[in-house]
């Protein structure tokens, strides 16, 4: 069955964005972009919640993105994307499909279809709802060497504890630490 990989940048104190939605602390460099390019080659579908979708849709199709990160921009723009939102009326980013209801059901169906793995970037609320349904197979958490002090907490609102298995770590020269976990550890 196809895996769902969740990936998120997080501060050392566990926030995925600052109090005013700041994301300027993300340590993105060539080494990270090489990693991201490999990941994007290993998946054939990207899944988003509305907020992350709108943020990415306002960046990746722009000339700035195509100049600064041509490889990543090409993949982000061309890969099939699904955004889950009850409130969005339409989607304009290339190759995007809008799903308004039953995210968990739709994703269970996609997982049973043949294909490569799928990735979710950010999209905290969507991810928490999918976690509750046991639909996330792998967690890739990028710990940035910064204490934000306040902001929005990673994966807040999960009702039951979720025990994970550490499967891999990777240290980037920038000080970024990638922690990879698989679901399914017994207490």
């Amino acid at each position: 069955m196809r895996k769902i990989i969740f990936q998120m940048m997080v501060s050392l104190d566990g926030y995925f964005e600052g109090p005013n939605k700041e994301l300027d602390w993300h340590l993105v460099d060539d080494e990270f972009n090489d990693y991201a390019s490999d990941l994007l080659s290993s998946v054939d579908t990207l899944l988003f919640g509305r907020v992350t979708y709108q943020l990415m849709a306002s960046y990746w199709p722009t000339p700035t993105a195509k100049t600064n990160d041509p490889l990543i921009a090409e993949k982000m723009n061309n890969l099939p994307k699904i955004v889950f939102s009850k409130t969005l009326a339409k989607v304009e980013w290339n190759n995007t499909r809008l799903v308004k209801e039953n995210a968990a059901e739709e994703i269970s169906k996609l997982k049973r279809e043949p294909g490569k793995d799928m990735a979710i970037f950010g999209s905290s609320d969507l991810t928490v709802s999918l976690m509750s349904s046991g639909l996330i197979d792998e967690y890739r958490i990028f710990v940035n060497p910064v204490v934000l002090g306040s902001g929005k907490a990673l994966l807040k609102g999960l009702k039951d504890r979720l025990y994970l298995n550490l499967i891999r770590t990777r240290i980037f020269k920038s000080g970024l630490v990638l922690l990879c976990y698989k679901s399914g550890r017994r207490k």
């Binding site: 602390w25 609102g157 504890r161 550490l166 770590t169 000080g175």
Partner: protein
């Protein structure tokens, strides 16, 4: 919290955080809410067979 006061005055020389392989969903925040933003330098990592990852940081600009 004591650690917040010490951080504000740049009195912490090394931070060693142990990340446990569990999502709690709610609880008390590390360092408390409302401290200042601080950039750190990763100096060491260590992985235990239990799945705990120890991340060691020092303040930027502070020599050993």
């Amino acid at each position: 919290m004591l650690v917040n006061t010490l951080m504000q005055h740049d009195l912490i020389d090394e931070y060693r955080l142990m990340v446990h392989p569990i999502v709690l969903g709610s609880g008390k925040r590390l360092f408390g809410e409302g401290s200042d933003m601080k950039v750190l330098r990763l100096v060491d990592t260590r992985t235990f067979s239990s799945g705990i990852v120890v991340l060691t940081y020092q303040p930027v600009g502070k020599e050993k």
